[in-house]
């Protein structure tokens, strides 16, 4: 008996200890994702007179994307025989944890992806290398030929993001355009939407209602007008109605603006009043995504990263601008992911060189675009790419218009952390279910979000010391 008990105690102690670890346990992992790049291994290609320089490149992405990037890095190594790149890749949802753990553990990879929203924190704490001088002195890089939207996301002057020195290059820009199922329009005998003139909200509802059908008469809808995930689609409706989550100073939460309420009302009405989208219970991304791919959905947001997947769809789809609210203009979210270098890298020249190869070189871009995982970063190449209407979607031009004209960054990007912004979506379900009115919701939620935003502002001030 006693013997057994001692065993229990030991076991529970070990388990307990591991609990406390959970909070910062990532540190241990850091050594595995580590900085082996900076340790120069004994001349691997000994015939080469130059010393081999090792870089670690940490990135993330879906399978198609991983393959594409691995291919490009191999090509880079072939062109630069004195540089060896060790690739560390994770699934998208584990990436942030792994990166932050390696930063905490002081073993930052030489070259790595990072979210534009984390820029301030990383610059303030000296994690990111200032790329400005490297990029400016490089004759092969023409910043004017890369999307200004994308480049500016990685500028920071110590107070405002969007201006000042450059701490990263956009891996790509991800314009989230609106797609529609062309075959469905043809089957229903509805004229195809205009690719340059957005629907008004009313028009959009009308068309979508015509396309919401119970085909086999079993009382269940088999075809829906649209499918919108609140987190990724609501910003489009809010912005095009002239409202936003933040004021111009980025210190005040403005969701109680009547224009905001109107947009949120419209968003919930699509389901609750007009019934053009699957019910909220069914509207998780996965389901709407599947419905779209099965050809059961008329309108669905399309990002360039899905082009390779949608290529194989049995129906034809194309891109149009989002329906426009009271401003009369479309708006949507444009994502981006930056590639930066560690401020402590032993080979800054090579690290920046690799970044440039992946983001700004013709060779690198061509390979990535060919894999159909992104739109070209280089504007002249993008124009050429968009002009080719033989591949799906025909109106690729829309992607470029999003980037140049009506794409925006999510509000969380402007603040030290996005906790305040995320809370909006954490609590939103009752609104989507019609249990709480949009007006009640924003009134109750604004102070909570403001409190978190104040905290983030305070944190930012502290981090600059």
């Amino acid at each position: 008996m006693l013997k057994k008990k001692g065993w229990f105690t030991l076991l529970s102690l070990v388990l307990m200890v591991s609990v406390v670890l959970t909070g910062c346990g990532g540190k241990n992992n850091a050594s595995s994702g580590g900085n082996s790049g900076s340790k120069a291994t004994a001349n691997a290609g000994s015939k080469d007179s130059k010393e081999t320089k090792n870089l670690t490149f940490m990135f993330r992405g879906g399978t198609d994307e991983q393959k594409a990037y691995e291919g490009v890095v191999k090509k880079y190594e072939a062109d630069h025989p004195n540089v060896k790149v060790k690739m560390v890749v994770t699934a998208a949802d584990q990436y942030a944890t792994k990166l932050k753990a390696s930063i905490t553990g002081n073993s930052v990879p030489d070259v790595f992806y990072f979210e534009s929203g984390d820029l301030k924190a990383y610059v303030n704490s000296g994690v990111l290398l200032d790329l400005t001088s490297y990029v400016e002195k490089n004759p092969n890089i023409d910043l004017n030929n890369i999307w200004k939207y994308g480049v500016d996301l990685y500028r920071y002057d110590g107070t405002m993001a969007g201006q000042g020195n450059l701490y990263g290059m956009p891996k790509d820009v991800g314009p989230f355009a609106l797609g529609y199922n062309k075959a469905m329009f043809e089957a229903a005998g509805i004229p195809l939407p205009d690719k340059d003139k957005p629907y008004t909200w009313d028009e959009f509802i009308k068309v979508a209602q015509q396309l919401t059908i119970d085909k086999d008469g079993d009382g269940k809808l088999d075809q829906f007008g649209a499918g919108f995930n609140v987190q990724w689609a609501l910003p489009s409706f809010v912005w095009s109605n002239g409202a936003d989550w933040l004021d111009a100073t980025k210190t005040k939460v403005t969701i109680d603006d009547p224009k905001f309420i109107e947009a949120l009302q419209f968003f919930t009405d699509m389901q609750l009043k007009y019934g053009i989208t699957p019910s909220t219970e069914q509207a998780q991304t996965l389901d709407t995504y599947q419905r779209w791919m099965k050809g059961e959905m008329a309108f669905f947001p399309v990002g360039p990263w899905d082009m390779s997947t949608y290529e194989k769809l049995p129906f034809d789809y194309d891109l149009i601008p989002y329906p426009a609210g009271s401003t009369g203009k479309s708006a949507t979210w444009t994502g981006s992911l930056g590639i930066g270098a560690s401020a402590k890298t032993k080979h800054p020249d090579e690290a920046v060189d690799l970044i440039n190869y992946l983001t700004a070189s013709k060779e690198g871009m061509e390979a990535l675009v060919k894999a159909k995982v992104q739109i070209p970063n280089l504007m002249d190449m993008a124009k050429e790419w968009a002009a080719d209407t033989t591949t799906k979607p025909a109106n690729k031009e829309e992607f470029l218009q999003v980037v140049n004209e009506y794409g925006r960054v999510l509000p969380g990007h402007y603040t030290y952390n996005a906790e305040w912004y995320n809370l909006f979506y954490t609590d939103i379900q009752p609104v989507l279910d019609g249990k709480v009115t949009p007006e009640e919701y924003v009134k109750a939620e604004q102070p909570k979000m403001q409190k978190l935003l104040d905290k983030a502002v305070e944190q930012e001030a502290k981090s600059k010391k």
Binding site: M1, K4, K5, F8, T9, L11, S12, L15, M16, V17, S18, V19, V20, L21, T22, G23, C24, G25, G26, K27, N28, D93, A96, T97, K100, A101, I103, T104, A121, Y122, N124, S125, G126, V127, Q231, T280, E281, Q282, A283, Q284, L286, D287, Q290, Y416, N417, A418, E419, N422, Y425, T426, D427, Q429, P430, Q459, K462, S463, K465
Partner: protein, 296 residues
Amino acid sequence: MNAKLGLYRKEKIYGFLFILPPLLGLLIFTLYPMIYSIYGSFTDWDGLGQMNFIGLGNFTDLWSDELFHKALFNTLFMMLGIPIGITLALLLALGLNRGVPGTTAFRVIYYVPVISSLAAVSIMWNWAYNGDYGLVNQFLDLFGISGPNWMANKYTVKPALIIMAVWKGLGYTMLLYLAALQSVSRSYYEAAELDGANGFQSFWHITWPMVRPVTFFIIVTNIIGGSQIFTEMNIMTPTGGPEYASASVVFYIWQKAFGNFQMGYASAMAVFLGVFIFVVTLIQFRMNEKQSFDVD
């Protein structure tokens, strides 16, 4: 005499040498981070830069943090799966202990979930719980019940996770019980039978007390494991579920630490959780001491 002592001492040194590697590992990878995180819990550390001491600030913040309360409630709620799992496992073990044909096959079947990766299991159940195409709802459909979209409904998401956790842990618990049952000597039952005890009486007065150490072990480890539940919700409800209904304490710690640059605050929660588990475990040991008795 002298030689004997020398040998003894030599063995002692070898012994220490053998346990040195794991001991060093424990010190470097467990004790050091643990102390570091306790220290961190008293700072406003963002995980990147300076650590400023702020006393008990993080802990007082916990009192008014609604999301933390939700996460704590969720974590405790999901422990309802523990008694369910224990009951089911014991019933299964009793069944298998009777030597039904194919016992080995059943053992394997029940044990397969245990050795499967939790991430894979989570992904699989996520499909099963899908409101439209999921196996669970298709099954319910056979009886004319139209099931909810389990993971998207704040009332069903926790039960859904509990069911999955019970299913996952069943084989392990069952196997422990089976081993315990098989070590109970037949003679006790024979004696009880002579005294005219019925099936339930011999279970209640012999089997249940005899497997008590195993029950105790299972409860303690399950509560500790249950307090740290994380992977399931991270994969199945990556935003914490509808209205944060499926976020656990560890999930919230992870969000704060790696999503929001609040490593200090996250450490405070980890310390809180550590103390909580320590206290609960201590209480259980005390209770077990009081209740334990020996079969003479």
